[in-house]
Symmetry: C2
Subunit: 250 residues, 2 copies
């Protein structure tokens, strides 16, 4: 596990050298990609291929390969590229490992905060060296918050009676649920490379991920690179149905 | 001006020592205050009183004094206390100076990014040593964003056709408008201590602040500590009416 933490940190510090001095290109879906995204994904792929040549790898920028393997790495070299380009601090490097299609371990590094969130199989979740846990709240206070996507205003009616924040990174959303700072996250469009590390971490921190409909999330079906079939809620189990009840399609 | 930049930096580095290790208390309105808020405001008041004993000072934590003076300082020791408590990076120290009730100069320091945004009377706006300017866009791209408050989901219908982010600090919102990263900001509840520095900076960066109704913003009437009479939009002048058209009360 310490090697994975070293990889996300190495990638994050590499990306940080471009921060506040970024040139953007457009991908086919008109979203942004930067030189930093491409270089960090290449770096992560090299590290993994050298250490685990038999494992599969899927990544945001260079696609899907060998997903029939027992172990498949899921890489988002910069989750929150929009934040990265805007000079905002909420972006990260996310590396997750699936085993038989299920989240197994993950590490997420936020270079501006120098925070690494991570969890290994069967272990607790950590922020750096501090164990973390999702919220144990059972009711909602006016200072509580959930994170929502940056398109949520167009897609959902949200009647959550406290605060919403949009941090612009699914992986960062997962970290703040895992440390118990936010009560939950509403995640709309996402692929497995956005989610794999975060799902391992929130599970280790005592939170769950379910579809907005209540259906379970099947990560194995996302291995081919497709998007989530429906939005998901990430939250501690005692809050997940309450949060679902506040959110409807607009 | 360099003294004001030194004050916000000193305050921010002081607050940062508490970051990730914060105890919260509740104010009368149930919002949070921390030891760091109280200590940083005391520090700023001491610096200002020693240097400008004849000036007025209003601050979030210790209230309003001598607002009949030509020069009145407006202090928010930590704007974004909720972010600060949550371990999020988007909080800042904000110090603005009004002259005859109008924004005159301001400095905003974001300790986690080590970014200081500032403007003096008649001058351009800066991020650290780099001149900044609000967006010159005249149309909206799907990667563009505006910032909104963390209560916006309950209060407004927002039909902005791109992204919204909530950074949880009015002063930080102003900085990202001023540097041209965001196209604008919708600010709901705010007092002069949240706004004074940001208004000086966005004005120097070529942006404006107007009420959601289109009414001009009268900062002088906020000197007694009252809240904004209506939400305001901060944006470059060519976009402000377009942004207003996307937002209605829910």
């Amino acid at each position: 596990m310490s090697e994975v933490r070293a990889w996300v940190r190495e990638g994050g510090l590499h990306a940080r050298r471009y921060f506040n001095n970024v040139e953007v290109q457009r991908k086919a879906d008109r979203s942004w990609v930067t030189q930093a995204d491409l270089e960090v994904e290449r770096l992560l792929r090299e590290r993994i291929a050298a250490r685990y040549p038999d494992h599969g790898i899927i990544g945001e920028e260079q696609g899907v390969g060998a997903i029939d393997r027992e172990f498949v790495w899921c890489l988002d070299p910069i989750d929150g590229t929009g934040s990265f380009v805007a000079g905002l601090p909420t972006w990260c490097v996310s590396v997750g490992l699936l085993r038989d299609g299920q989240p197994y371990l993950g590490a997420i590094y936020l270079p501006i905060l120098d925070d690494c969130y991570w969890a290994e199989a069967e272990g607790p979740a950590y922020r750096n060296t501090t164990p973390i846990h999702a919220s144990t709240a059972t009711t909602i206070d006016n200072n509580d918050w959930i994170s929502v996507s940056s398109y949520a205003h167009r897609q959902y009616r949200i009647d959550f009676p406290a605060k919403t924040r949009s941090l612009s990174s699914v992986a960062v959303d997962c970290c703040y649920v895992a440390r118990g700072s936010s009560l939950g996250a509403l995640i709309g469009r996402a692929n497995l490379w956005d989610l794999a590390a975060g799902l391992a971490i929130i599970r280790a921190a005592g939170a769950v991920a379910v579809g907005l409909s209540g259906a379970p999330l099947d990560t194995a079906q996302l291995l081919d690179g497709r998007r989530l079939p429906e939005p998901i809620i990430i939250a501690p189990p005692q809050l997940v149905d309450l949060l679902r009840s506040y959110i409807s399609r607009r």
